[in-house]
Amino acid sequence: MKQQLYVSVLTCLLLAFLVPGAKTQSFQSPDTKIQGIVTEIRYNYEGAPLISTYKLTALISVLINETILKPETFTRERNQLVGVSYNYSGPPTCKVNDVVEVYGLWVPVTDVPASSTIRVDDYVTGSYVDVVPPPPSSPPPPSEENDLDIASVDTQSEYSNGSIQYQFAMNLWYNWINTQGTQVIFFAYYSEVYNSPIITFIGQHYVTMDGTEVFIGNTLKLMEVYNDTNKNNVPEVNEIGYFFLVNSSVGFTVTPIQKIMLGEVAHYRWGVKYHIIDGFLIAENGTGNVRVIVEHMAFSYDYYIQNNVSYLKTGFDIGEIVSIESDETYLTLEGLSLSLLYATITITPKNYTVLVNGQPYNSATAFPSLLATNYSEILLENQKIYEFIFGENYTLYKNSIVESYKSFSVASAINTVSSNARVPLSGLIEQLENVLKDFFPKISEMQANIDLDYTASPFVYRVYYPTWEGYRIKHDPTYIAYINPQGIPKIPTSLPLELLITATIIGLIALIGAVWELQKTKRLPRPPLAIS
């Protein structure tokens, strides 16, 4: 037994002497930095005979996305695989499909190029393999070629819903209602791949009592986390600490639209829900972001018409933040409040006015910049056509305790929205604009300049919840439209090409037949006369 042990030790020492790689390592500087996606991790080198001198804990295969730093001998290019020999005492933290940044020493093996690796170990000073957190907004930029098939939205039916695809992995869920001369369209982004922030849009098209066409839309632009330091119960600009962006990439479920008769009134109900979602608290001043896990986020809607008034009851259910992944251990949501920023879009051929607390209002020029309100409306030549009902209570689910608090609203000037908030959303908003531009002619013949940027909105407002602290919130604000059920606008339809071609072909055949018959008729002589 002892003899076998001696032989083993002797063999190891001999190998250590013979194998150049097993020599004592000197400290070196890293010369290569790449970013890419982990395609494979092999841990099977652990416990190899050379462990004492060259401890390879994992060989990581990385598909290169970007080469940030490289020596001359580094020959790998974008979309090529490169091996990373990871030699720290613990296993790497990355997993397959993670996006990683690798900083190490390029070790070319000229005889066998495929064996060349980037060394990451204690002897390469400062080397690392770090997982790159997915950015809060990483959907593909809007392409010039709009791949969304808006034609698939069945605008002839009373109600419908479905999914339309944007590029290969980005989708829009839509709900459509067409009843009593009003049309409602709802869009919500979702994706199984990209971490796009949740953005929803709801718009209503109808004819007012005086026969004027109107389209009014609401977009939930942003969720802001603020600390009401001066205790004036208003989310002021300098109190906003974070933008709360919630990703839409995991667990998207829908409640398909359904028509329910309550008494004589038809209610159209639908909803979408995002389950166990990750989000980001992005510092307003751009100093960084913190990843959080949100239990869920749900939007539900109930649309119905009574007499000449349509009601849209919206239900927001923002789940509890169950996890905060931050190195900043001091980060706490205690005492923080939540505010939702909305922008409206109004399209009508006539001049309209937004009234806040009975006074004309325009977010572009508003002063004071924040104006508390419980009630706002849109007037069309002194005729009320739309109402925003604010100030209803919301429900806070604090652990097992259910509490009710009053929600508040402020009409907000555009300059109260941080310019930093625009960056992560601009691509998606632009895409949504394109969708609406394509869709709008299906519901209206009005010439519309669709601009969903909040800077173009005459009425930007915030609905805020002073007591939040990251707990679950449920709130049901209501929008009211004054419609003219008799003034049913004609929904223009795109020309069905097949029908057009069929009509032309049949018409041509009939015409040839008619001309042929005409000639035959001309040849018909009058009957010869007879004397009776």
């Binding site: 929904i491 029908l499 015409l511 018959e517 018909l524 009058r526 009957p527 007879a530």
Partner: protein
């Protein structure tokens, strides 16, 4: 002035081409009357009254001509019945359905008009491109209606013949 006399009548069945040239005037009118009452035997007096002939001998004359053409038959009771239906001349432009007679172009007119109406209702908005697409069909419908009216006006009738006779007399 052409008078078709009995002496010219062939004993065998005349071809449709020959009939086309021979059948006309009041004889055509009598045959037309028989075609609209194909199922019933008709007497000489009825023909005289229906077509306002001055005497029964005039009616008898035309009936004998038609027998000579092989178009009608006389039964043992002295009544006459259609023996052969020929589609010659103006008759070919009409459809006989029971007692009703209408230009066959009326069917085409209704079909093309219905087609245009269907397409117009299918398109909820009327644009120039739709009008252009429907233009051949609309033209076809117009032509068919024109032909229907033209043929209808040429329908053999007592008035027409009288008018034409008067015109000829003046000439």
């Amino acid at each position: 002035m052409c008078i078709v006399g009995l002496k010219n009548l062939p004993s065998e069945k005349l071809s449709e081409d020959k009939l086309f040239s021979e059948l006309g005037g009041n004889t055509l009118l009598v045959y037309w009357y028989f075609l609209t009452r194909r199922r019933n035997p008709i007497g000489v007096r009825e023909v005289q009254r229906a077509l306002h002939f001055s005497s029964s001998s005039t009616a008898d004359y035309h009936l004998k001509k038609l027998i000579g053409f092989g178009l009608i038959d006389k039964d043992s009771f002295g009544n006459y019945k259609v023996k052969r239906v020929v589609k010659v001349g103006i008759i070919s432009a009409f459809l006989f359905v029971g007692r009703f007679v209408f230009p066959k172009h009326l069917v085409y007119s209704i079909l093309t008009s219905a087609m245009i109406l269907f397409f117009l209702l299918s398109f909820t908005e009327i644009s120039l491109i739709i009008l252009v697409a429907l233009l051949p069909g609309i033209l076809a419908a117009v032509i068919f209606w024109y032909e229907t009216l033209t043929v209808w006006k040429r329908k053999p009738s007592r008035i027409t013949i009288s008018k034409n006779s008067n015109k000829r007399s003046k000439v």
